[in-house]
């Protein structure tokens, strides 16, 4: 049960003066039940990679397999393989179209060919996950909601498909801190309860450090680093600088504190871990 990307290359508008190679010979495997963060500069090929996994772009070279099935074949098997991947695009609220919140969330599950009862169940579950009260919101127009609520409706529309793998392209961009935390709490809830594979594309190192077990670093269309979160942020700082990405603030702070003689144990990647580590080093418990 995994996503396998084998030697994938992709060029936008080939054979014109605008041709641009967005992916260069990328190979990787992501297992179901893994939470992976993809980081890298703007234009490094993160989104292109995501669209390949979702079967929305056909690689110029190479192969994308989901649970052993090539997603770019023209068979019913490949179609159902593609449906195993759900994708939350950047600014997903821009894809809302239906008259009511309920109809919009039901669009995906209906296309999957679920029965009326199954669709209803999926919509209710998805709305619960994104903390939208069914009675209050189901019959409202999605266009009358606030930005944060619209984002949650749009995400519910993808969660309702209950896919085995979920790709999220900067789900927190443009959200206030509170909505951001809610979104991630809900995401972690799905991750834990259903053991799906999650691929998070993000510019925030804090988000990557907080939620992901594994980090992929993209640079100029190439996969330049791939490893456990702690390994990447602690051991590969030089490579990260080369790829033009930062380390989380807490990692920076830790190394400064260490330079100034504070003996911090372990590797605090997140804010909370750092606070505990400082307290311990100072003996403040």
């Amino acid at each position: 049960m995994s996503i396998e990307i084998k030697n994938v290359s992709y060029t936008y508008t080939p054979k014109t003066p605008f041709a641009q190679q967005a992916l260069k010979n990328v190979s990787l495997t992501i297992a179901k039940g893994e939470f992976v963060a993809v980081i890298g500069q703007t234009g490094s090929g993160k989104s292109t990679l995501a669209e390949h996994i979702a079967g929305l772009l056909k690689p110029s070279k190479g192969q994308v397999c989901i649970d052993g099935v090539d997603v770019n074949e023209k068979s019913p098997k490949a179609k159902s393989a593609r449906q195993k991947v759900g994708m939350v695009f950047q600014y997903p609220e821009e894809q809302l179209f239906a008259e009511t919140v309920y109809e919009d969330i039901a669009f995906g599950p209906r296309n999957q060919g679920k029965t009326v009862e199954e669709v209803d169940g999926a919509v209710r579950r998805a709305m619960e996950v994104v903390a939208l009260d069914f009675a209050t919101f189901a019959n409202r127009s999605p266009f009358q909601l606030s930005g944060g609520q619209m984002r949650r409706v749009a995400m519910a529309g993808i969660f309702a498909m209950e896919s085995d793998y979920l790709i999220l392209d900067e789900p927190s961009a443009g959200l206030d801190p509170k909505s951001r935390d809610t979104v991630f709490e809900q995401l972690m809830e799905i991750f834990r309860s259903r053991q799906i594979g999650i691929i998070l594309i993000t510019h925030s190192m804090e988000e990557a450090a907080l939620y992901a077990q594994r980090i992929l670093v993209m640079s100029h269309g190439e996969l330049c680093l791939d490893g456990k979160t702690t390994d990447i942020f602690l051991k590969a700082r030089a490579d990260l600088t080369q790829a033009m990405v930062d380390v989380p603030e807490s990692v920076k702070l830790t190394s400064e504190l260490k330079e100034h003689g504070l003996a911090i144990e372990g590797v605090p990647l997140t804010k909370d871990e750092l606070v505990t580590a400082i307290k311990k080093a100072k003996g403040w418990n």
Binding site: T13, T16, L56, V85, F89, E94, F107, G108, M161
Partner: protein
């Protein structure tokens, strides 16, 4: 997907044709179009075709790309050819039922389709070698004299610029929304016409909403930068004619005179003598 279409079709380069003033290119294109309709003999058609291909060669546009611009209209070209072949006057070479093919018909058909091809080629060369923004600058400048009679030259040009500017943006957006809905299992390729039209709604509604939002934002941004129409506005890139423009103008005029002479030359000679 959609973004693979190179719309607006500007093919960047730095050839003689690319560097010409847009006004020269627009006027020359019009003169050439007039010349096409003056051509009569096979020789003059041959000359015009050679001229277009030469311009294409000088502009360093790949011939493949140039030929591809004819593709969208090939049905019309074939139709023109067919209609003329079967409706020509004169001695039939071949008859069947009410259909007669005559020598005159074949000749006329070939001429008419050649005219279409020439028109297509020359206008493609214009759009391929001139960026849309420069092109509208040229159009605005050429329309200036008509301002006196109430033609809103600047406003028209600004509208064209904005429209052209947003074609790639809209295409990109359509592409993105399409992908998002495909990821939700939408199907745009099967079913009957009514169903297909209905299936387009998940793309069209978000597209409309974002277009209105974009228009609103653009209007605000323009106003924030004190845009008040063309009144008293100066330009960053002033258009000016150079030596190349006179050369191009001279060549174009020469083509016009040669083709004109081939048509009326014999009459002119007999008038003089």
């Amino acid at each position: 997907m959609l973004t693979d279409i190179t719309l607006g079709q500007y093919y960047p380069g730095n050839s003689f044709v690319h560097r010409l003033d847009p006004r020269t290119k627009i006027i020359a294109t019009f003169v050439f179009m007039v010349t096409i309709f003056m051509a009569e003999s096979a020789l003059s058609y041959g000359l015009l075709l050679a001229f277009v291909l030469l311009v294409g060669l000088v502009s360093k546009i790949s011939m493949g790309l140039l030929i591809k611009t004819i593709k969208p209209l090939w049905i019309i070209i074939i139709l023109t050819l067919g209609i003329h072949i079967f409706s020509g006057q004169g001695e039939p070479l071949w008859s069947w039922y009410v259909f007669h093919i005559t020598r005159e018909g074949i000749v006329l058909g070939i001429k008419m389709s050649l005219r279409l091809i020439l028109l297509l080629l020359i206008s493609s060369i214009l759009t391929l070698t001139t960026s849309p923004i420069v092109l509208t600058d040229g159009i605005e400048d050429l329309m200036k004299p008509f301002k006196r009679v109430g033609v809103p030259a600047h406003e028209l040009a600004m509208m064209m610029t904005i429209a052209l500017r947003f074609i790639p943006t809209l295409l990109e957006e359509t592409d993105r929304i399409m992908k998002a809905q495909i990821a939700r299992g939408a199907d745009f390729t099967s079913g009957n016409i009514i169903n297909r039209a209905k299936n387009m709604l998940p793309i069209l509604i978000p597209l409309f909403i974002s277009s209105f939002r974009r228009a609103d934002e653009l209007a605000l941004a323009m106003e924030a930068r004190c845009y008040r129409g063309g009144e008293g506005r100066t330009r960053m890139h002033q258009l000016s004619y150079g030596a190349a423009d006179y050369e191009a103008g001279f060549i174009m005029l020469a083509v016009l005179v040669i083709i004109g002479f081939m048509k009326w030359g014999s009459k002119l000679c007999s008038l003089i003598s």
